[in-house]
């Protein structure tokens, strides 16, 4: 087997992005200050955007950067600034009383999620019960090239088969806009001004 420089580079960039994503996510969980959590969250989002580029979904990567990094992260930082807090004093715990149970539950859930990936090693033989042995169904991996011009095709798809969800999404965003302003307003000041 000859060394394939392309494959090595791709594997390396996958590992880099994976470490960025997971490291950022762990930083979100472990950071004491919520502000630091928000910054780690941005790191994690950027890692996911890199993975999208590696998966040749460049448009989605751009959307990820614009919506998650620029929009949601800034929203979170604004919310942090708007809620001045006594939060990060040393004697106030950052995580709640159920964190150990949460850790146990999450680890169990992770193992359950992993089981299908290792399904070939865990095939259960039901033949004593008179059942057929379970055969894991593999996904049919396609080596075809992705769509040539995904942005144009996506525009056509959004105006064609997906037009109803697209319209519903527009209504949802409008409702969210109005609702967020209504919920987030200062009731005291609203009475003063009226």
């Amino acid at each position: 087997m000859t060394l394939d420089i392309n494959a090595i580079l791709m594997t390396l960039s996958f590992l880099l992005m994976a470490v960025t994503t997971l490291g950022g996510a762990l930083g979100v969980v472990l950071a004491r200050k919520v502000f630091h959590s928000a910054l780690f969250l941005v790191l994690s989002f950027m890692g996911v955007a890199g993975l999208y580029i590696l998966l040749e979904a460049e448009f989605i990567a751009g959307v990820q950067v614009m919506v998650y990094v620029a929009d949601i992260a800034v929203l979170i930082l604004f919310a942090l600034m708007l809620t001045p807090h006594r939060l990060e004093l040393k004697h106030i715990p950052a995580s709640n009383a159920q964190r150990w149970w949460a850790l146990v539950a999450v680890v169990v859930f992770f193992v359950i999620l992993l089981l299908p990936l290792f399904a070939p090693f865990f095939t259960i033989n039901f033949s004593p019960l008179g059942l057929e042995p379970t055969t894991p169904v593999a996904w049919h991996i396609s080596t075809a090239d992705p769509v040539i011009d995904p942005v144009i095709e996506m525009g056509k798809a959004l105006m064609g088969p997906y037009v109803l969800p697209f319209e519903v999404l527009g209504v949802l965003l409008l409702a969210v806009l109005v609702g967020a302003v209504f919920v987030g307003r200062d009731p005291g000041r609203a009475e003063e001004e009226s």
Binding site: V29, I60, Q98
Partner: protein, 108 residues
């Protein structure tokens, strides 16, 4: 010609997404700060999106269903974050706290 499909197995992406999802769950379950809980939810949504894009690239790269789906999820996630943070700010105005375990009006 080596592509990322032949270089990296699909299972790696699934593994990464599973780990990301679990970290998100842990953040949502263990953080006291309500904004931290929202961050956990965002991490979980990202993990789901990563799975969808990976399956799109590896299984049905000729159709755009996966990408369109992710686009919708991102838009809904942005809406969810906006409403969630508005609720948190409103909560802070009324209760002077954004610790989720101190908001126990419904506790008997």
């Amino acid at each position: 010609m080596t592509t990322s499909v032949t270089a990296i197995p699909l299972a790696w992406y699934l593994l990464l997404a599973a780990a990301l999802f679990c970290v998100g769950i842990y953040a949502a379950l263990s953080r006291r700060n309500a904004i931290g809980i929202l961050m956990g939810v965002e991490l979980m949504l990202n993990a789901a999106n990563l799975n969808l894009i990976a399956f799109w690239r590896y299984v049905t790269p000729q159709q755009l269903t996966g990408q369109v789906f992710v686009l919708f999820i991102i838009a809904v996630a942005a809406a969810e974050a906006a409403v969630g943070l508005a609720l948190i700010i409103s909560l802070y105005r009324q209760r002077e706290t954004i610790f989720a375990d101190e908001v126990d009006l419904l506790q008997g």
